[in-house]
Amino acid sequence: MTAGLIALWAILHREALRFVLQRGRFFAALVRPLVWLVVFAAGFRAALGLSIIPPYQTYITYDVYIVPGLLGMILLFNGMQASLSLVYDREMGSMRLLLTSPLPRWWLLTCKLIASTAVSILQAIAFLVIARLWGVKLPWSGLAFVLPALFFGGMMLGALGLVLSSLIRQLENFAGVMNFVIFPLFFLSSALYPLWKMAEASPVLARICALNPFTQVVELIRFALYGALNTAALGWTVLATGVFMAAALWGYDPARGMAQRKGPPADA
């Protein structure tokens, strides 16, 4: 197991290096949710009357409502970014180096997931600090609970990224990921509008939103921010993590995976 820990350390270290060296990426990841908070939410601040839904105890302004959704957005984009970097690693050949390690593949992929989730959590904390300075007040008690919620959410979306990276052949295809994965996941969720509001427009859409695993992540974070546990959301998040992880392992299995079926990797 020491070898496993060394691998975890090495992968974490590599991810940390990437994080430190690519400061632009860090800021870019922060700017995106901040634009939503500062511009988008400001426009709706007073206009959108929200009724009281759990975990809220009283009426809230729209900027308070979308903070959990924007934390989810950070996790989502980072998960996809991680998948992008895996495709890059594969093109550059460092992936092969990693996967030839005698350690079990599931462990290597899990290490990769933990590393990218750690980066996501750092960005989420930075976002929370800025949101607080911007005037969005959240109870301090929730901060301890939000870290595990961010971890579970980050792992799930990271696992989704792994599945995608096993499917994507080339970096250029990443635009497709944006169009067909990130946008539907984000917009068909409770990140920007509560599901009851969605149900007023279309019950079918609301149903789809409820099934969206990203909605579960957002709700898990939303409840955690108020020191509450949304058991259903946690259950679905863990289940989705398991399913995505299994799919990723299948995808990365050289004997059966997509890589095999699609022929040798590009750098071969």
Partner: protein, 323 residues
Amino acid sequence: MKQWLSALLACVALPAQAGEIWVTNEKDDTISVIDVDTLEVVRTIETGERPRGITFSKDFSKVYICASDSDTVQVMDPETGAILHDLPSGEDPEQFVLHPDDTHLYIANEDDAITTVVDTQSRTVVAQIDVGIEPEGMAVSPDGKIAITTSETTNMAHWIDTSTQKLFANTLVDSRPRHAEFTTGTNELWVSSEIGGTVTVFDVATQKEKAKIGFEITGVNRDLIQPVGFEFTPDEKIAFVALGPSNHVAVVNAETFKVEKYILVGRRVWHMAFSPDFTKLFTTNGVSGDVTVIDVASQEALKSIKVGRFPWGAAMRPTKSKT
């Protein structure tokens, strides 16, 4: 040392102060009783038709309720919830105020353009004073010498000398004055104007306007900013002003007359009452049918509690400590 001791005593005594907030539900003909510690409705009591104004006697042994559509003021035993008797109030009593003598009720009769003075002991009408059209806001000065009626359509505050029960002054305010309160330390009268969207501050000694407070909430149409009920903190440094359909309560610095903050509450916020220790403020939100609890120190909304339909008035009743 004495000061230090009394401060310590105050600290020890404060958390033990249990109490209830009594809220009249205009459309349900009921009172919802909220426990100030658990922030839950613990009792619902039936009243006459369309209960609006509510106030307790000084010793809290009786509660007076304006049952507007029953054309009466009901007197209730707060322990049992039983109606003890009615008071002759004149037609359509909306708001009233209990004189510091604990005996005389000054009642605004909205439909009749009069203020009725009722002796709660003998249960008789002592006087009826002609005032402007649609009287509503009622206040009595802390020394008991002056009573105020505001009339919604005449747009005036009418000053009543309580020794003669006659008007001695009338002052114009902005459109639709709804509520009036005296301050003790600064000897001021505050009157809120719903349509005018302002609160006018008068110097009681001269009945001259001293200041006018306006409100502005980013993103909320000016027409929706309609000041109604308001309350002062015990030190009279801060006034909380309910701003009706703008769904906000304004925090006003009562020394500079500047608005310091707006707190988001439920829809069409109307009146309010403090908890016995003045740490929490309960606002009645008519359209959303709930009561929002505001933490007075942090000036943040803590929770909104569902009550009956169209909660209107609110009054505090201290109860025995549970600890």
